[in-house]
């Protein structure tokens, strides 16, 4: 496999806060068109990994390539869905405006989004079932609706690679189904999607590959091969009972 076909190529990535390593020597190669979950316990560095790839936290060492080139030169091929709780939802703006923000990167400096950008944003809102809420003030949205607006904003970015930080966190069943449908559409269109995920039980159902992370890379590969009880035990340490029940119900789901 040539590295050109690799959507994401992370080598020796290390991140430290003060002296404490939060990510240690991570290697990660993701082929184009994969739908990958990042799982691991709290404090495993899942969010930090995404932020380090996107250049949002400082890397102590390592290299990140997106389609063979450094991230800074490939920004327009990458979309990002941050955690819902990272912004103030009482900000004075509406749903359409937030979705339109996905076009800012392409527009570059000073240029304002126009009717073309708003049409793209409306289209993205339609895809996540939020078009009826376009004029809604964002503080009036439920958690699931907020999440879908963030997804629409990422769709407006129209990228090849999508990074999503816990998109399923605290959402309703309707939103969960909408997100899953969207992830599959993206995958079918040949996009690469990386999702920080918390619910071990749904990993085999939703994703085709998985990265097990706990400061270090524990395992990475197709779900059928690496999503095993042993690997999960290595990832989650002592919480064996929790791991066993997760794997059992995951097996039931298959």
């Amino acid at each position: 496999m040539q590295s050109r076909d690799l959507a994401i190529d992370v080598r020796d990535l290390t991140v430290a806060y003060r002296e404490k390593p939060v990510l240690w020597d991570i290697d990660l190669s993701v082929e184009s068109g994969k739908l990958m979950a990042i799982v691991g316990p709290n404090g495993a560095g899942k969010t930090t990994l995404i932020k380090a790839i996107l250049g949002l936290v400082k890397r102590a060492a390592g290299e990140v390539l997106i389609y063979g080139k450094p991230y800074v030169r490939q920004r327009n091929r990458v979309a990002y869905v941050p955690q819902r709780g990272s912004v103030d939802w009482d900000f004075p703006t509406n749903v359409l405006d937030v979705a339109t923000m996905g076009s800012y990167g392409r527009l570059g400096w000073i240029r304002r989004p126009g009717s073309a950008e708003r049409a793209i944003a409306m289209d993205a809102l339609r895809k996540v079932g939020m078009d009826e809420y376009a004029d809604r003030q964002i503080s009036q949205l439920s958690g699931g609706q907020q999440q879908r607006v963030f997804l629409a904003r990422a769709l407006v970015q129209d990228a090849q690679v999508y990074f999503m930080d816990e998109p399923f966190q605290g959402v309703d069943a309707v939103t969960e189904r909408a997100i899953i449908a969207l992830l599959r559409q993206l995958k079918d269109a040949g996009r690469t999607v990386i999702v920080v995920h918390h619910d071990l039980q749904t990993v085999p159902e939703y994703f085709d590959s998985v990265l097990l992370l706990n400061i270090r890379r524990i395992a990475v590969g197709p779900v059928s091969e690496v999503f095993t009880e042993d690997n999960l035990r290595l990832t989650y340490g002592g919480r064996v009972g929790f791991v066993q029940s997760a794997v059992r119900s995951a097996a039931d789901a298959k």
Binding site: K51, G55, P92, Y104, G105, L107, R111
Partner: protein
């Protein structure tokens, strides 16, 4: 009377200057408030005092531009100190603000007092920067304020989308490639400009109110960023002009505090009366909802009682309903309201029954509220 005031050259100059400072601080204050940095303005304005005194000591000049430059440098240094302390130590942002504000301001007071002990009188007037002295505004000052203010507003207009994304979702902005740190620096510098413009009129102690007040008031009336920024500018301008006019009519009351007071009135009115977010409308809505719920509860109670009899319009004593409902509030008001709507009628003293319409309404309510739950249980 008012006409006469505006034809007065001095009053016109002061009103114009106060209006300009209101527009600029209102517009930029919106970003400060949304970034939850309201008090950064307070630190910047208090920190301006030593800057003003040092600028005078170095140049011997009291020209507005010289003093403004000194104020801007000191204000900028204070905000840089705050941000550096908050970033590099475990000290929280508000603590860092408090430290910078009081240390810079204390230093300024020391310098000012030392200066006043000097035998010559050239320094007279510097202490006016504490609470401002609008009456000293001349055309040249207003022109300086206008030019600086317009430049600041122009930058806001040009970098609108960059300011918006850096305020709403800075990480997303950075991921898209915008140098959010740099944008934030520009924004903070513009806060400094807005504050420096107002120091001569409102003074270092009260100036931050002009940054926070109009923005907080404007947020009550609108849900759009553009709406908030323009409305805050209008509120700022109105308070500025109102304060200036008020000062000219009254018994030589100081302009700066009157501007802040006018703004305070606007803000309180906005907090109380703005639709949707205003306290008055919100409590009215809560009260209406509460009344509606109590009403429906009594209706359902009546229906429950009636359904134990053959005839649904069987009357029941109010005392029984009181027992079923909230014992403190009683049911009289709800029953009267139900009768007004034709849902219940009074049969005798303290004796009530449902009407046909009341039965229908109660059935719908029961279906809506409890129908689903009953099905789940089965």
């Amino acid at each position: 009377m008012i006409e006469q005031l505006f034809s007065d050259y001095t009053v016109r100059t002061i009103a114009l200057g106060s209006g300009i400072l209101g527009i600029v601080s209102g517009a930029l204050g919106s970003f400060a408030v949304l970034r939850q940095q309201s008090l950064l303005g307070d630190a910047i304005s208090h920190a301006a005092l030593p800057g003003i005194v040092i600028a005078y000591l170095l140049t011997g000049s009291k020209a507005p531009l010289v003093l403004m430059l000194g104020a801007a440098v000191a204000g900028g240094a204070a905000s840089a100190a705050v941000i550096a302390i908050a970033r590099s130590t475990r000290v929280k942002f508000d603590t860092a603000l408090g430290i910078a504000l009081s240390v810079f301001f204390g230093f300024g007071l020391v310098l000012l007092t030392a200066l006043q002990k000097r035998p010559d009188a050239t320094q007279a007037g510097l202490s006016n920067f504490l609470f401002g002295q609008a009456s000293a505004l001349v055309e040249k000052d207003v022109l300086t304020m206008g030019v600086l203010g317009m430049a600041a507003l122009l930058i806001v207009l040009l970098a609108w989308k960059e300011f918006k994304i850096s305020t709403f979702d800075p990480e997303f902005g950075r991921a898209m490639g915008f140098p959010v740190g740099g944008i934030e620096f520009v924004l903070t510098s513009l806060f400094v400009v807005a504050i420096v413009i107002g120091l001569q009129t409102v003074g270092v102690v009260l100036m931050s109110a002009m940054l926070i007040g109009p923005a907080a008031a404007a947020r009550q009336w609108t849900n759009r960023l553009a709406g908030m920024v323009s409305l805050a500018a209008i509120f700022g301008a109105v308070s500025g002009v109102a304060g200036a006019v008020w000062s000219a009519t009254g018994q030589s009351l100081p302009t700066g505090p009157l501007i802040v007071l006018s703004m305070g009135v606007l803000t309180v009115v906005s907090f109380l009366l703005a639709p949707a977010r205003g306290l008055v409308w919100r409590s009215l809505r809560d009260w209406r909802n509460g009344r509606q719920l109590r009403l429906e509860a009594v209706l359902i109670d009546l229906y429950t009682l009636a359904s134990q009899h053959e005839r649904v319009d069987h009357p029941h004593a109010q005392a029984v309903l009181d027992l079923m409902a909230n014992p403190i509030r009683g049911t009289s008001r709800s029953l009267t309201a139900l009768a007004e709507r034709g849902l219940a009628r009074q049969i005798g003293p303290n004796l009530w029954a449902l009407t046909a319409a009341g039965v229908a309404r109660a059935q719908t309510l029961v279906q809506e509220r409890f129908g689903g739950i009953g099905n789940h249980g089965a």
